[in-house]
């Protein structure tokens, strides 16, 4: 049986594009934390010189994280209070949520690690740093697969 189509409101359309935009910025500035943009001429593109400035990309990444946390909290509470009445999450949504949880949690750990008074063990630091990147790579991979399968986050009940 074909799943019922969920009519997306204007507000949700805005939220969706804000999420995509934030995620693109986060992915770009996140990858910019690796010393690759200068090596591979990205920062040589006119107007992209900032991408090789680690402090600047880190700053933007943090700003993006603030916005993303606010957005995720909004969407989550909105889902349980209002949206859930009309829709249910798809299987692909559960995969995305699991990976997103991984990204956010390891991101929070990284932020905590960067505070002057917080020192984690070397193993935990390494785990947080590498798994943050790993979760992000997996998320992008699955996002591409789900895009190909045209599998959205929700479907009508």
């Amino acid at each position: 049986m074909k799943p019922k189509k969920y009519k997306v409101s204007g507000e949700k359309r805005i939220v969706k594009w804000l999420y995509i935009l934030t995620f693109v910025v986060m992915a770009f500035t996140g990858f910019g934390q690796m010393p690759i943009f200068k090596r591979y001429y990205i920062s040589d593109i006119p107007g992209m010189g900032w991408s090789a400035d680690f402090y600047f990309t880190h700053y933007i990444h943090y700003l993006g994280a603030i916005f993303l946390l606010a957005l995720l909290a909004y969407v989550m509470v909105d889902y349980f209070l209002i949206t859930k009445r009309n829709v249910r999450l798809t299987a692909s949504a559960y995969v995305r949520i699991a990976l997103l949880t991984g990204i956010v949690l390891t991101g929070v750990i990284r932020v905590l690690k960067n505070l002057p008074e917080v020192v984690f063990s070397p193993g935990f630091t390494q785990f947080a740093d590498i798994s943050h990147l790993g979760f992000m790579m997996l998320y992008l991979l699955f996002a591409a697969i789900f895009l190909g399968l045209k599998s959205g986050w929700v479907q009508a009940r």
Binding site: Q33, M34, P35, I36, R39, Y40, Y41, F54, Y55, H58, Y59, Y62, L63, A65, I66, F67, L69, A70, L71, L72, A73, Y74, V75, M76, V77, D78, L81, I82, V108, V111, L112, K113, N114, L115, P116, V119, P122, T125, Q126, F127, A128, D129, I130, L133
Partner: protein, 326 residues
């Protein structure tokens, strides 16, 4: 005198000095290990350094097993703008920081009390309290330890040199042809391993002093809990009408210098460049991150409040017409 003491000072000082110090000094292994849980800092008294390079030699000797043994020829790097950093043929260089020389003696000709003097002092990693190299390392290869040491794990480092770029003093130095990158994509990602002073973390674990401190014939350096080191730095600075570097630089470092001349003057007089760090004032490089981290606590609360506000408004709209129907 503060509550810190180096082993050499203890031995040299004799019974009288030992007796005087006994009341205030902690047993060496505990002091060095940071038994109090506080970060350990070092104090470098510039007045005392005679530039003999005993510390440089001791550092090289003790840390020789950690030095890189690169595989040659190096993998061809892509794109061609990526240059190799090879110090393996210049292991004897001791007048700057290299992967084989983690400590060097910097020299400044300055005027002290109207008299021209040559001041010498050891330079190495400052071991920041909030080190950008460790905070921004994407692999967790550079890390800060609980005892205030910042070290780079040579087994994990890919040699991207980001730590060098974000370090306010550009301390870490790269050696190509060694490390993990050789096992991944040697031509396309990474370029070796970054090396710098690890303040002899392995010796400290065993309750020993860092080699540069232990071997110094003039007791130029001391190590101890940071608050005591800061206290002692201030005591010396007050006594000699001198100056302190490292207490607030980059938000505070675990290496403090005390000098009889202003650091602006020293900075002008020293040779600066790659592997030869400056002595300029340094703002807290990670302050922006610390401030934004606080905003991250508020962000989800704002998101929840917005969603609850929407729910409240929606509920009002739903109940509104019903009330009108009555």
């Amino acid at each position: 005198m503060g509550n810190t003491i180096s082993r050499r000072a203890f031995l040299k000082g004799g019974i009288a000095a030992a007796g005087a110090l006994a009341a205030s000094s902690l047993p060496l292994p505990q002091t060095v290990k940071g038994a109090t849980g506080e970060e350990l800092a070092t104090l470098i008294d510039i007045r005392k350094c005679i530039g003999c390079e005993a510390c440089v030699e001791a550092c090289q000797e003790v840390n020789a097993p950690k030095f890189p043994e690169p595989t040659k020829p190096f993998p061809k790097m892509y794109p061609s703008r990526v240059k190799v950093s090879d110090w393996s043929e210049d292991r004897d260089v001791s007048d700057r920081l290299t992967p084989y020389n983690w400590l060097f003696i910097q020299e400044a000709v300055v005027t002290v009390k109207g008299e021209k003097k040559i001041l010498t002092f050891p330079r190495r990693c400052m071991h920041c309290q909030n080190p950008p190299c460790a905070d921004l390392c994407p692999w967790g290869a550079a890390r800060k330890l609980k005892n205030g040491i910042t070290r780079i794990d040579a087994d994990l480092c890919l040699g991207g040199s980001k730590c060098n770029k974000v370090c306010p003093w550009h301390i870490p130095q790269r050696q190509t042809g060694v490390g993990l990158y050789l096992d991944i994509l040697p031509s396309f990602a990474g370029n070796g391993v970054m090396y710098k002073c690890d303040r002899c973390y392995d010796r400290i674990e065993q309750g020993k002093l860092p080699a540069c401190i232990e071997v110094c014939p003039e007791n130029v350096q001391k190590i101890g809990p940071r608050h005591e080191i800061v206290k002692e730095a201030h005591a010396i600075a007050t006594e000699i009408n001198g100056y302190i570097y490292g207490e607030t630089e980059n938000g505070g470092t675990n290496t403090l210098y005390v000098s009889p001349v202003p650091f602006e003057e020293l900075n002008r007089a020293i040779e600066k460049g790659p592997g030869k760090p400056h002595l300029r004032p340094v703002k807290d490089a990670m302050a922006h991150a610390d401030n934004l981290a606080k905003a991250m606590v508020v962000a989800p609360i704002a998101g929840v409040a917005a969603a609850v506000g929407k729910f409240y408004n929606t509920s009002k709209k739903v109940t509104g017409p019903k009330e009108q129907d009555k």
